[in-house]
Assembly symmetry: C2
Homo-oligomer: 141 residues x 2
DNA sequence: CCTACATCCTCTAGTGACTAGAGGATCAAG
DNA sequence: CTTGATCCTCTAGTCACTAGAGGATGTAGG
């Protein structure tokens, strides 16, 4: 079966560069994989999926520490409720804020595309839309 | 009027550290502000708003080059339609993908909070939800 | 079996985007 | 007119990668 692939294949499948995969192992985001007789890393499907998760989470602006916590949720689903709940809730808040800001930005960029199609971009308010509209998300609560 | 504040005040108002503000100036995200007689930077309201935009955009995972482009949209609203439209559209796509992934992640983390409240977190699928569900967003044109 | 070339290994160093600190000038309060 | 906060520039450190040197191992063709 192919549930034991070398690092290059994993790199191609996930879009994460080889040295970066080794880096994630070094900093503890990815468990050290099994090694072949000749000391080469060999990954299973779970590792590939974990890497894909890490990549998307990074692209969404979560920092490594936040990803570590989200992965902890996943690694220990039978963990004490309070702890998991706390971590999950705080990230839920972070995620909601990100979605709200992105939605605001999306709307404004969409407006520009629409107006641009009609011949002229009257005014651009991308700055305003993230600049203060969403600032209240921080203070509100 | 207060439309001329020093860097420390701007830092407090935006939550961006003083050296970072100077860094943004250095790399051209923020125009060099006016200086006082004693060579100190003095910022107007527009600069503060621009910095807030930069901060939020960074938190959302946009890299400096993307932010530079979005700021360009804002700086030159009467620019040639095609160019603005192209930049805007490509970012619209990027934004939509981010929103889709965040929404998927949000749903899963919410589920964990809900189940956690009921006493047990059966399984955690945060990895799966970003790991491949959204992978098709990449390929699906 | 042997060459050739890709892929792997470790290790060191470089990049992008900050962030902290040294050393010194300037301002505002008492 | 001193004291403490804030500013200046400049250099160096951090985080999260990313590239490259130098060498071992694997796979395919002759």
């Amino acid at each position: 079966m192919s549930s034991s692939v070398p690092i290059g294949t994993v790199s191609r499948e996930t879009g994460i560069k080889v040295p970066t995969i080794r880096y994630y192992e070094e900093v503890g985001l990815l468990p050290s994989p099994a090694r072949t007789d000749s000391n080469r890393r060999s990954y299973d499907a779970a590792a590939v999926q974990r890497l894909r998760f890490i990549r998307h989470a990074r692209e969404l602006g979560f920092e490594v520490e936040a990803i570590r916590q989200l992965l902890t949720l996943s690694d220990q689903p039978d963990r004490s409720c309070a702890e998991v709940d706390g971590i999950a809730r705080s990230h839920l808040k972070e995620i909601d804020e990100k979605i709200a800001r992105l939605t605001a930005l999306r709307q404004e960029v969409q407006r520009m595309v629409d107006e641009g199609a009609h011949g002229r971009v009257a005014e651009c308010r991308v700055i305003e839309v993230l600049g203060d509209h969403t600032a209240c998300l921080h203070d509100a609560h």
